[in-house]
């Protein structure tokens, strides 16, 4: 009888994901959008990247171009918003910091989702899931769902169930779903809905008779490895409850680049973290360049070690860059905005950068006078020296002086105010 008790002590993984993140962030400050179909558009107001449930109900697909939707918007009561990355970056930083209070092990997986290591009896875990969900909704103002399971893949699956089945009340714990119900749910879910299985792979799986998640669970992991890859075998094992997907440290998605690392030895000073962030800034810049991208918003964060019995902290900061850039110097300096929140003496075990509001490099006119990175390295200290001696604003990078005028290339006609990052764009409350 000892075994079930030990099983219950096994660490579990909670996956927390903001529902329709961009749309929810817009609604948090504009309650008139509540209950109305809402789409958030990609850069240049191109196509719908986020749809509220009401917009989904109208049959609007992800990626549908706005010019096709616009003529019917009035008839539908459909509202569109341009992507407001400054707002989303700040809301994301708040959500992640808040979640950090519930677990010492937090992996920021994307702008709107995180994995957390959690432990406890099923009823405690369920209660924890509800506490996190309620706290994010109430404190930050956006709705989340929570999936809790022994593996990341199952936690993601549970989160999907929590989102799609009102009966779960927003929190789905794998251990609390009866095995027959799990099989039923998995048999109804196409295999493409599983984390890490993209379109082409799902077509190949369909080709060998694997159509649903349940089909994949029942497939032979070794045969899957031989026919496909070790990565897909891991997915099968994860679906069977064996955790084998490690913490991800680097990731480039449709609209964000995440770069984070855990340190072998904890960093305990702001000076040490300054060096770390400098290296990350340069490496993130290299990744952006490699993909031909520039970023406009940067989030930097750090976390104390989860495995030590000491004070915990999860500082994070969202910085709006003066212009879209992949410049290592600018990214590094922006990342250093985290430093005032770093307390000497705490043991930091991890730090990361998240770059959002990505756009192709081609969008920007060639205005950068310092294109050679070697030159930049000498320019940096020189700038600091001159600024220190002659005062703030006496000198800056050639392109840093151009605060606006670059964004005109980017169409954002339907952008909401940057409610939380600009003093002159604060939310208005009526006293009437």
């Amino acid at each position: 009888m000892a075994r079930p008790a030990i099983m219950r002590q096994m660490p579990q993984i909670a996956h927390v994901d903001v529902n329709c993140f961009y749309a929810s962030a817009e609604r948090a400050f504009d309650p008139s959008l509540e209950g109305r179909p809402l789409v958030v558009l990609s850069n240049n107001d191109g196509c719908a990247v986020t749809r509220s449930p009401e917009a989904k109900a109208l049959g609007i697909a992800t990626g549908e171009p706005w010019f096709k939707l616009a003529p019917r918007a009035k008839e539908w009561g459909l509202v569109a918003r341009s992507s407001n990355y400054e707002l989303y970056g700040d809301i994301s930083a708040r959500v992640m910091e808040l979640l950090g209070r519930y677990s010492a092990w937090l992996e920021v997986y994307s702008i709107d989702e995180a994995f957390l290591g959690v432990k406890g009896e099923p009823d405690q875990l369920l209660a924890l899931g509800h506490r996190m969900k309620d706290a994010v909704r109430r404190s930050v103002g956006v709705p989340v769902c929570v999936g809790i399971a022994p593996t990341k893949t199952l936690a993601k699956l549970c989160n999907k169930w929590a989102k799609n089945n009102a009966a779960f009340g927003g929190v789905c714990l794998w251990d609390c779903v009866p095995p027959e119900a799990r099989d039923g749910l998995m048999a109804r879910l196409p295999v493409a809905e599983i984390w890490g299985i993209a379109g082409r792979l799902s077509n190949r799986l369909n080709g060998i008779g694997i159509f649903t998640v349940l089909d994949l669970v029942r497939a032979d992991p070794v045969a899957i490895r031989d026919k496909f890859s070790v990565v897909l075998m891991r997915t099968v094992l994860e679906l069977r409850g064996t955790a084998c997907i490690p913490m991800e440290e680097e990731r480039i998605g449709r609209d964000q680049l995440i770069f984070s690392r855990s340190f072998a030895t904890p960093v305990t000073t702001a000076a040490g973290l300054r060096e770390v962030l400098s290296i990350y800034g340069q490496q993130a810049s290299a990744r952006l360049s490699k993909h031909g991208l520039q970023a406009k918003v940067l989030t930097a964060y750090a976390a104390t070690s989860p495995f030590r019995n000491h004070e915990q902290a999860y500082p994070s900061v969202c910085v709006s860059l003066p212009m879209p850039t992949a410049d290592p110097l600018l990214l590094t300096k922006a990342a250093h905005a985290l430093l005032p929140s770093i307390r000497d003496g705490l043991k930091y075990a991890k730090a990361g950068l998240m770059l959002t509001d990505l756009r192709p490099t081609g969008n920007q006119p060639p205005l950068e006078p310092f294109e050679n990175p070697h030159e930049e390295r000498r320019i940096g200290p020189l700038l600091e020296d001159v600024s220190r001696r002659f005062g703030r604003g006496s000198i800056g990078l050639g392109h840093a002086g151009i605060r606006c005028g670059l964004d005109w290339t980017m169409k954002r006609d339907m952008c909401s105010p940057r409610y939380t990052t600009r003093w002159d764009e604060l939310p208005l409350v009526k006293a009437a």
Partner: protein, 143 residues
Amino acid sequence: MGVIIGPRVIDAGASLFSVLISPVAVAAGFPSPAQDYFDGRIDLNAHLIKDITSTYVVRVTGSSMEGAGISDGDELIVNRALEPKDGSVVVAVLDGELTVKRLRITPTGVILQAENPKYPDIRVAALSELTIWGVATRCLHHV
């Protein structure tokens, strides 16, 4: 539970610039004589904001809260995580708009009160019928 710092949102261009030139960030070279002052300055965030994850700043339009010392154009610091109580100044959602009122919880019902006789009160049967967006903790009144 440890101490939580940030997220602090840094204002765009200007603050990137301040990051660029802040004496604190200068590692090499001769130490700035101003450096000591930077550590000692009053940090309004630290004094006015209890929980940075749940606190927002909003701007008031209109004069219905004059009696509470809240004027047109003033900024309010609003904590979403606080429990609204009888007497709290709250930001409530009314007809899809954020509205600031004094909350009164009485045995006979809940009232959203204006602090200006020219504006009527709004009565509801129970608190659950209202969407309270947050509780104001400070008013940044322009004097």
